[in-house]
C-alpha cells in the first residue's frame, strides 16, 4: 500500500506551479480541493481495477512529469474557414485562434472566461456529467485543469459551420528529465433546439513524450443536435487519457465519433446518460493501431427513461504488436421500456502480434426492450484476398483494399464530407501509397 501512496504523492508533487483555469472562483477552488482529496484516496488506476484490467499503465507511470512548458511557437496550421479554438499544451492560445464568425446565439470561449462569468453558471454544470465512480485521471483533471473550450448554444441557436478545436502539444526535448503533462476540461452546453458540430483534433509531433488528460462534458438540452468528433493523432510516444461525458435531455440527438489514430497508450471513456424520453446517442469509433500502440475504449450508455435509442459502432484495425480494448456497457433501467440499443464491435487483426479484447456488457432491468450486440475478432478473408489476387492485384494492395473497406464502414458514418475525405486519405494513405486515387 505504501508504494501506491508514495506514487500518489509523487503525482501530486509533479504539479506545483501549474497554471490553473479560473483560479479565484471559490466554487472551483473547492471542487479542486475535493478532487485532490479523492485522488489522494484512490490514486491512479492499476491492472487490478476491473475497468483497467487490459491496460497496463506501467510505461505511463514510469515517467516523471511536469506541467507542459508551452514551449513550441512555430506552429503552422492549415487554412480553415471555420471558427477555430487553439490550445497549446492545454492553454488557450488567442494568437492562433479565430473565434470570429460564430453564429448568433453561440458563444465559444476559453474556460477561464466562462468560469469568470456567472451568467454561464458553470458552477452547477462542472462535473455534472461525470459518472459517480470516477477514476484517478478524472480527479486529477478536475484538480489541475489548465484550460479548455466552452461552447454555449442558446435556445434555437444553430452553428452551420463546424467549430474546430485544436489541442496542440509541443515537441518535447528527449533529453529533458520530465515529460510534459497537461489537463484540459471542455464543455458543450446546448440549450433546447440548438445545433452544432464540434471537431476536436488532438495533435503532437511524433517522438514527443507527453501526457494529455482531457475531458469534454456535453450537456444536450431538449431536442438539441450535437455532432462531436474527436480526431486523436497524438504522438505515437504520447499518452492520451480522454473522457467524453454526455447528458441528454428529451429528444436530444448526439453523435460522437472517436477516431483514435495516435498515442502510445490512449484511453477513452465515452459515456452517455439518456435521461429524457426520445433521446438518441450514436457512438462511432475507429482504432487504427500500429507499432506498440495500445488503445482502450470504454463506452457506457445509460438508458434511464423509456423510448430512447442508442447505436454504437466501434471497429479497430490492428497491425504489428498493437492492441485494442473495447468495453461496451449498456444499462437499461427498470422503467426504461421501449429502449432500442444496438452495439457492434469488430476487430481486424493484420498481424499475428496484434490483439483485441472486446467485452460487451449488457445490464437490462426493463422487460420491453430491443437490445442487440455483436463482437468479432478476425482476420482478412482468404477468399476475398484470392479473388483480388486473381484480378492481378498483388497481395499487399489487396490487403490494403480489404483493410480500408473494413475501416470505411466507420468512416462512412462521418457526416461532414471534408472530415470523411480527410479520414479516407489518412487511412488509405497509411495502408498503401496511392490508394486514395482508387477510391
Amino acid at each position: 500500500m505504501s508504494i501506491a501512496a508514495d506514487q500518489t504523492q509523487s503525482w501530486l508533487d509533479q504539479h506545483p506551479g501549474a497554471p490553473l483555469a479560473g483560479a479565484g472562483a471559490s466554487w472551483l477552488d473547492s471542487a479542486r480541493a475535493n478532487a485532490l482529496a479523492l485522488f489522494e484516496r484512490i490514486g491512479l488506476p492499476g491492472v487490478r481495477d476491473e475497468q483497467w484490467r487490459y491496460t497496463n499503465l506501467r510505461a505511463l507511470k514510469s515517467k516523471l512529469y511536469q506541467p507542459a512548458a508551452n514551449s513550441q511557437s512555430d506552429w503552422s496550421l492549415p487554412e480553415s474557414d471555420h471558427p477555430r479554438f487553439v490550445l497549446v499544451d492545454g492553454v488557450y492560445n488567442a494568437g492562433l485562434s479565430n473565434l470570429e464568425g460564430v453564429a448568433k446565439g453561440v458563444q465559444f470561449m476559453p474556460l477561464d472566461d466562462a468560469v469568470a462569468d456567472s451568467r454561464f453558471d458553470l458552477e452547477t454544470r462542472f462535473g455534472s456529467t461525470l459518472p459517480a465512480q470516477q477514476h484517478g485521471f478524472s480527479a486529477l483533471n478536475t484538480a489541475y485543469c489548465q484550460g479548455g473550450y466552452v461552447l454555449m448554444l442558446g435556445a434555437g441557436a444553430t452553428s452551420k459551420s463546424p467549430l474546430e478545436v485544436l489541442f496542440l502539444n509541443s515537441a518535447t526535448d528527449s533529453t529533458a528529465d520530465a515529460s510534459a503533462i497537461s489537463h484540459t476540461r471542455n464543455f458543450i452546453i446546448a440549450d433546447a433546439n440548438s445545433q452544432c458540430t464540434v471537431i476536436e483534433r488532438h495533435q503532437g509531433t511524433d517522438g514527443s513524450v507527453y501526457l494529455h488528460n482531457t475531458i469534454t462534458e456535453i450537456i444536450a438540452g431538449d431536442n438539441a443536435h450535437i455532432d462531436h468528433y474527436k480526431i486523436q493523432q497524438d504522438s505515437c510516444d504520447a499518452f492520451h487519457i480522454g473522457g467524453v461525458f454526455i447528458e441528454q435531455a428529451r429528444s436530444a440527438q448526439v453523435k460522437t465519433h472517436n477516431l483514435a489514430l495516435g498515442g502510445l497508450v490512449a484511453r477513452n471513456d465515452v459515456r452517455a446518460s439518456l435521461s429524457g424520453e426520445g433521446a438518441h446517442i450514436e457512438m462511432n469509433g475507429l482504432v487504427f493501431g500500429r507499432g506498440r500502440q495500445h488503445v482502450d475504449n470504454h463506452t457506457e450508455v445509460v438508458h434511464a427513461v423509456p423510448h430512447c435509442t442508442s447505436d454504437e459502432y466501434y471497429r479497430s484495425v490492428l497491425d504489428d504488436q498493437s492492441r485494442s480494448v473495447f468495453r461496451g456497457r449498456i444499462i437499461v433501467a427498470q422503467d426504461a421500456q421501449q429502449t432500442n440499443a444496438e452495439q457492434q464491435n469488430n476487430n481486424l487483426l493484420l498481424s499475428a502480434g496484434a490483439e483485441a479484447d472486446t467485452k460487451p456488457q449488457l445490464e437490462i432491468y426493463a422487460d420491453d426492450v430491443q437490445c442487440s450486440h455483436g463482437a468479432t475478432v478476425g482476420q482478412l478473408d482468404p477468399k476475398s484476398l484470392f479473388y483480388l489476387n486473381s484480378r492481378g492485384i498483388d497481395t499487399e494492395s489487396a490487403r490494403a483494399l480489404l483493410t480500408f473497406a473494413f475501416a470505411n464502414e466507420v468512416i462512412e458514418r462521418i457526416a461532414i464530407e471534408s472530415v470523411r475525405d480527410e479520414m479516407t486519405q489518412l487511412i488509405a494513405g497509411a495502408l498503401l501509397d496511392g490508394m486514395e486515387e482508387l477510391l
Partner: protein
Amino acid sequence: MLSVKNLHASVFDTPILKGLNLEVNAGEVHAIMGPNGSGKSTLANVVAGRPGYEITEGTVEYQGKDIREMDASERAGEGVFLAFQYPVEIPGVSNMAMLKAAINSLRKYRGEGEMPAAEFLQLIKEKAALVEMKQELLKRSVNEGFSGGEKKRNEILQMAMLEPTLALLDETDSGLDIDALKIVSKGVNALRSPERAMVLVTHYQRLLDYIVPDYVHVLSDGKIVKSGDKSLALELEEKGYSWIEQELQQAS
C-alpha cells in the same frame, strides 16, 4: 498455351486431381464437362493459383513457362483469368475501385504506366455496355447484393476489362436466364481471338450453342476420361455421364 501434364493436386490435403492431362493452344476454346465433385473447379483454381490448392505431382506450363511457383496475382499478370463459379462479395470495395486497382496492377506487372483516368472511364463505359451492366452497379461494392445473374455478368465485365490471354470460365452460365446467357456469350465471343484461349467449365450443352468449342472434355474423378469435338456435348446431354462410366468399365 496451356499444357497440363499428369497433374495431381490436393485441396487442403485431400487429393482431388489424379493425373490430369490437358493441352490448350492459342485460338482454341475447350469445354470441360463432368459430374459434380469430379474436380472441374479444382482444375481451374489450381491453374489460377489459389492458395491451399497444392500440386503434388505433374506440371503446369503456360506460354512455355512453369507457373507452379507463381502466386495468383503474378499469373494474372501473365494473362490468366478465372471467372469464379461462386463470385466473392467484397463489402466496402467498389467494383470501380477493384477494376482500377486490377488494371493498374496488371500494367505495373507488365512494366507499363497507370491508365489515365479518362481512358479508364471510357473503357469501363464501353465494356459495361457490352455486358449490359448498369452504371449504378459499378459503384456498388463488388458483388454485394448482386443477383446470381448480375454476379456472373460482373465476372465477364472484369474479363472484358482485363483482356486476359487465357480465360478460365467456371460455370459462368449456371443460373443465367436465356437473355443473360446471350449477353454473357456475347462478352465471351467478343474476346475470342487467335491469340487467346478459353476453357469453359459447364454442365449445359446450351452454352455451347452460343460459344462453340473446338474441343469438349469429360472430367471424372480427377482425370480427363474422354475428349471429342462439340458433338460429344450433345451425346452427353442425351445419355448422361453414366454412359461414359460404363464405357470405361467395359474398356478395363
